[in-house]
């Protein structure tokens, strides 16, 4: 698990801001809990989102889950190859399995999210 990312309680991770943009994905724990993935719907570039707003959906064999924006901002890039290569989410969730890039309105929102230790404590307490 990367050391410098922050996590939302809904299992999205977000990287530090570089050049005004942060990268967002979902954690390895979330991918494992979803099991066999079958479909993914992503947001459009340019969409303005608020923290906690649904930005997409992902379907596994027996469950559909929402993807949530960890911070408020504008979607500036989408990993459009991901829906055709869902296995990438499991193989490399913190790298090639990134989902969107977002320009945060308030980068300080990232600091308010969970650090690695707090996120590991959270997932240790949750039912799969």
């Amino acid at each position: 698990m990367q050391q410098d990312v922050r996590f939302a309680k809904s299992h999205e991770w977000i990287s530090p801001v570089v050049g005004g943009v942060a990268t967002v994905g979902i954690s390895a724990y979330a991918v494992e809990a979803l099991t066999d993935l079958v479909f993914m719907q992503l947001p459009t570039v340019g969409r303005k989102v608020k923290a906690g707003e649904s930005i997409g959906e992902i379907e596994s064999v027996k469950a559909v889950s929402d993807l949530y924006a960890p911070v408020s901002g504008e979607i500036v890039e989408v990993n459009t190859s991901l829906p055709d290569q869902l296995e990438t989410l499991g193989k490399d969730p913190f790298g090639a399995g990134w989902i969107v890039k977002i320009r945060p309105d308030q980068p300080a929102e990232i600091e308010a999210l969970l650090d690695r230790a707090a996120y590991e404590a959270l997932i240790g307490s949750q039912p799969h």
Binding site: S10, V31, E32, A33, L34, T35, D36, L37, V38, F39, Q41, G52, E57, E59, S60, V61, K62, A63, V64, S65, D66, Y68, Q85, L86, E87, L89, G90, K91, Q126, P127, H128
Partner: protein
Amino acid sequence: MIAWWDPPADGATNMALDEALAAEAARLDRVLVRISTWSEPTLSLGAFQAIAEARAHRALEGVKIVRRPSGGGAILHGSDVTLAVAVPRLHPRGGTQQLYDAVHGALVAELTARGVVAGLSPGAARGERSGSDPEASGASTSGPPAEGPLLCFDRRAVGDVVLPVADGRFGSDSKILGSAQRRLRGAVLQHGSLLLGANRLVAEDVRHPGLDQLQPIPGSDWGWRGGSSGGTALVRGWLTRLAATLGDGLETPAGRFSPSPEAGYEEGLDRFRQDSWNARR
């Protein structure tokens, strides 16, 4: 656990009420259940199924279509009872497979107590894709599984409730309960469809046998007539066992489920009536 048995309703109403049920489960931090039946034959599509496939199916011509918030395969409603179980997200049995196991295991126990031979499916059959595997340790590493057959009752997933048959469509068993989930921020919504009888209002090639055809229970009183089902001791027994499994008592208030204004029922009803939702894929 609070359970309501609602009167028959159309597809949009049923879906909006079920989504509101999940919002209320999160707000109240309680397990809530809504038993529903359908006022007209309706096909409920899984959240991401392609509507074109359903519309191209000649046997489904004229059947109303609504898209569920939950995943899985399409259900042709009319001779089934639909169970919506909404569990707070952090409930100890709220994990994906745990909730399937709780709901399906409770039905198998109730059927067994009533002399019906029933069991849980081990999963894929006849080249079908498998369902979620409780033993699975991670995501697929060989690409996403292909989409399965249109209809839920033509699919097999680990833990589906099945009855043995001599010459069934799948050779050795016939599915009578399948489920699908929507995992929301505050709650998990699980839809389940228990097939009581074969839906005689639809063509034979999309008609699946139900309990009435496979192992009729003497004295059962559901009296389905292709449109609605009455209350049954079977479902009440199922709910009692489910409440015990989830570590709760069973409350069955009089009247129908009536969500609070903050549950978003009206907004949901509008969305489930629109093509922008029902034909989104």
